[in-house]
Symmetry: C2
Subunit: 192 residues, 2 copies
DNA sequence: GTCTATAACCTGATAGAC
DNA sequence: GTCTATCAGGTTATAGAC
C-alpha cells in the first residue's frame, strides 16, 4: 500500500480507538511505518489534514453498509433490528472497539477544531441524504424517511457510545428494537 | 467555593467541551484559578482522579433531570418529545456546547483509560437503574422500562453528538419523535 | 521522495521554599 | 496548605542531508 494511504488508514484506526486529542503524529507515523518527516511531505496540513482525510474515507465507506445490511431483509423493521444486532456482535467480538471514528471524534473537536467539525458535518449530511433516499426507495414518505434515518443514526452512535462504556451489547440491542418499532409505526414501512 | 470544588467544576466544563485527551492540567488550573502544584495537593491521583470526580458529580446531577422533565407531562410520549426539544433548544442557545461530559469522554477513553471507563460504566448503569425505576413507576412493565430507558439514553447521547457536529436541532428533534413513538407502542405507556 | 535530526513548545507530575 | 520552579519526556512541525 502507498505511504499516504497507510498514514490515513493508521490515523482512522487511532481516531476510532482514542480520539483526536490523544492521537499524536508520531504515533500515527509509527503505526503507518513512516518517518515523522515523511508525514509532512504527504500532508502539508499536518495532523488536521490527515484526520480530515481519515474521517472522509471512513465516512464514505460506512454509508455504503446501509443497503448491504438492510437489502436482504423483506421489511425494514426486521432489517434494522438485525443490523443493530450485527453491530453489537461486531463490537463484542473486537474487544469493544468503536465502529465509527466520526462518532469518537465529533464530540471532542466540535468547539475547538472548526475545520474538522465542518468535515464531520458534511459526512453526517451525506449519511442523512443517502440514507433517506434509500429509505424512501423502500417505500417511506420523504419526511418520514428523513426522520427515520436521523433516528437510526442517533441511536446507532449513542448505542456505540454506551456499549463501549458498559462493555455490553444491551444498549445496541435495545436501541435496535426501539428504532425498528418506531419505523414500524410509519405508513407503508411495515412491509417495505 | 472551595479550591477542590472549583477544580472539579473546571474539569467537568472542559471535558464537556473538548474531551479528556485535549484537556491539560495546566488548563484546568487556570480555569479553576489554582496553581499547578495545588492541584496535586488536593488530588494525588492527578488528571485521572479529577476527571473521575468530575464525571461522577455531573452524572449524578443529570439523572435527577429525568423526573423533573417528564413529571409535568400527563403521558410519557409527549413528555419525552418535549424533553428532547428542550435539550435541542438548550444546545442551540449555548453555542452547541455538549450537554453531557460523559458522552464526550466515554468514547475517547474506553480503550486507553480503564479506570475512567469503569467510572463511565457505573454512571450509565446508575442512569439505567434509576431511569427504568422511574418509567416502571409511570406504568411500564419492567423489561419494557429497561428497553425504553436504553432507547432514550442512546438516542439522547447520539442526538447530542450529531447536533453538535451539524449545529442543528434536527437530529435531537427527530430522535425525540422516534423515542416518543416507540414508547407509545409499549403497553400501558400511551397514557402513563 | 525518503528519512534523520532537531527546533520550539507543551505535557503531567514533583520537590521544596514559603 | 499555598504556590514557584523545574524535571523528564512528550507534542507539532521543520530543515536539510541523502
Amino acid at each position: 500500500m502507498q505511504t499516504d494511504q497507510r498514514i490515513v488508514r493508521a490515523m482512522a484506526e487511532l481516531l476510532r480507538v482514542q480520539g483526536y486529542g490523544s492521537t499524536g503524529i508520531q504515533q500515527v507515523a509509527r503505526a503507518a511505518d513512516a518517518p515523522t518527516g515523511s508525514i509532512y511531505h504527504h500532508f502539508r496540513g499536518g495532523k488536521r489534514e490527515i484526520a480530515a482525510a481519515a474521517l472522509r474515507t471512513t465516512g464514505a465507506a460506512y454509508i455504503e453498509l446501509l443497503p448491504l445490511l438492510l437489502d436482504p431483509h423483506p421489511d425494514l423493521p426486521t432489517g434494522v433490528e438485525a443490523a443493530f444486532a450485527a453491530a453489537a456482535e461486531d463490537m463484542a467480538g473486537t474487544g469493544w472497539a468503536n465502529m465509527c471514528p466520526v462518532g469518537t471524534v465529533a464530540g471532542e473537536i466540535a468547539d475547538t477544531e472548526p475545520d474538522l467539525r465542518r468535515v464531520a458535518a458534511e459526512i453526517v449530511t451525506s449519511w442523512v441524504d443517502a440514507g433517506s433516499r434509500y429509505l424512501a426507495g423502500r417505500g417511506l414518505p420523504e419526511t418520514d424517511a428523513r426522520s427515520a434515518i436521523y433516528a437510526l443514526l442517533t441511536s446507532l452512535e449513542g448505542g456505540f457510545l454506551l456499549a463501549r462504556a458498559q462493555r455490553s451489547t444491551e444498549p445496541l440491542l435495545a436501541a435496535g428494537r426501539a428504532v425498528a418499532a418506531y419505523i414500524a409505526t410509519l405508513p407503508v414501512a411495515a412491509d417495505a
